[in-house]
């Protein structure tokens, strides 16, 4: 299983970012191994709501 967390930095020692859509990083963690990867959020400075994916 994997958990994604909105984060202020790219590591496990960063704080949880209160804003999901505008967080600095997403940290993806495997809670069993505590292995993780981080992704920079491309929408961090966007204004307004994020675009929804087109309907299928």
């Amino acid at each position: 299983m994997r958990i994604v967390i909105s984060a202020t930095g790219p590591s496990l020692d960063a704080e949880v970012d209160p804003r999901f859509g505008r967080c600095q990083y997403f940290v993806i963690v495997d809670p069993q191994t505590m292995g993780f990867e981080s992704l920079e959020n491309a929408h961090v400075v966007a204004s307004g709501a994020l675009e929804l994916p087109p309907p299928r």
Binding site: I3, L12, E15, V16, R19, F20, S47, G48, A49
Partner: protein
């Protein structure tokens, strides 16, 4: 993006309705209200301390243009459309989106390119099909603000930047016989905003009071009402720097230039009745600045031609 990484759970502070819906639809559990370090949050999750959020924690935010509701700048939207069936269909979707998905007040409806008046006979021709203004206004629970004709005069004024001089019945606002949804809603928004502004003012006052409690009356007075600003030593920056800068100009005023050089950090501190430990350097800064200014002044006195090169 998150869904295709094999993620099953999201831990975060707040989620808006869009993100919440999208994640829920993808079968991802959303847990909000999480704070602290990521490592600790994961451990807490493993111990089963979190419950899934049943709903988004943030009301809708709106994202049309840089001044949209997301920035707290606007109070609603105006739906503008033309009578073609396709355009009207898109506008109806926008109305639905504002009402149901985003709960944004619709301030009014404008039908553009609504008709054309034959200049000779005044006959009204609906070039793009039957007018849908009334119908749209009803759907939006908002007034029909205007049905704008195709008019060369309007186009000319538009190009010349004089659109406010356009004189026509379309610019007269309709009278309202009811209190529509958009009005009720914008009243709520205004009330909420006033409340927020009041709370921020109060918070600012408290912070200022807290900050100044460490300073003497003389220091506060000089910080809030700096003396001789722009005449000798320009100061800006934190309150204590302003206070010290202001006091040093008061000390130097009326003294011979050479005496000004003797004003020390201690003189400024004494005159202000002392400053807190962490702000003592501000007095030194002020005294040094004065010395520097006097040195500058004396240099120019000796070599007046340099004045032409003085930088401002």
């Amino acid at each position: 993006m998150i869904a295709n990484k094999g993620v099953e759970v999201v831990l975060t502070g707040n989620t808006g309705p869009n993100a919440f819906q999208t994640l829920s639809a993808a079968g991802i559990q959303v847990i909000s209200g999480v704070t602290g370090r990521i490592r600790d949050a994961i451990e807490a999750y493993k111990r089963g301390q979190f419950q899934a959020s049943p709903q988004p924690t943030v009301n809708a935010h709106f994202g049309i243009g840089g001044m949209g509701m997301g920035r707290g700048m606007g109070i609603g939207v105006v739906i503008v459309f033309s009578p073609q069936e396709l355009a009207a269909m898109v506008a109806r979707k926008a109305v639905k989106m504002a009402q149901e998905a985003m709960h944004i007040p619709i301030l009014g409806v404008v039908e553009n390119m609504s008709y054309f008046l034959l200049p000779d006979t005044g006959k009204r021709i609906e070039l793009f099909g039957r007018s849908k203004g009334e119908e749209m206004a009803k759907a939006a629970e908002a007034p029909l603000l205007a049905q704008i004709p195709i008019d060369p005069e309007l186009a000319r004024l538009c190009d010349e930047g004089d659109i406010e001089h356009y004189d026509s019945e379309v610019t007269a606002l309709p009278k309202l016989s009811y209190r529509p949804y958009w009005l009720r809603r914008s009243e709520e928004v205004c009330k909420w905003r006033n409340q927020m502004a009041w709370e921020f003012d109060k918070l600012e006052e408290e912070i200022m009071a807290d900050m100044w409690s460490a300073y003497t009356k003389a220091a506060i007075d000089h910080a809030m009402n700096p003396r001789n600003v722009g005449s000798m030593a320009d100061t800006d920056g934190f309150g204590t720097s302003i206070a010290a800068g202001s006091m040093v100009t008061e000390l130097a005023r009326g003294k011979a230039v050479i005496e000004g050089l003797r004003i020390t950090q201690q003189d400024v501190l004494d005159a202000l009745g002392g400053l807190p430990e962490e702000s003592v350097h501000c007095a030194l800064l002020a005294a040094s600045t004065l010395k520097e200014a006097i040195r500058d002044y004396m240099a120019f006195e000796k070599e007046p031609w340099k004045r032409a090169y003085q930088r401002h």
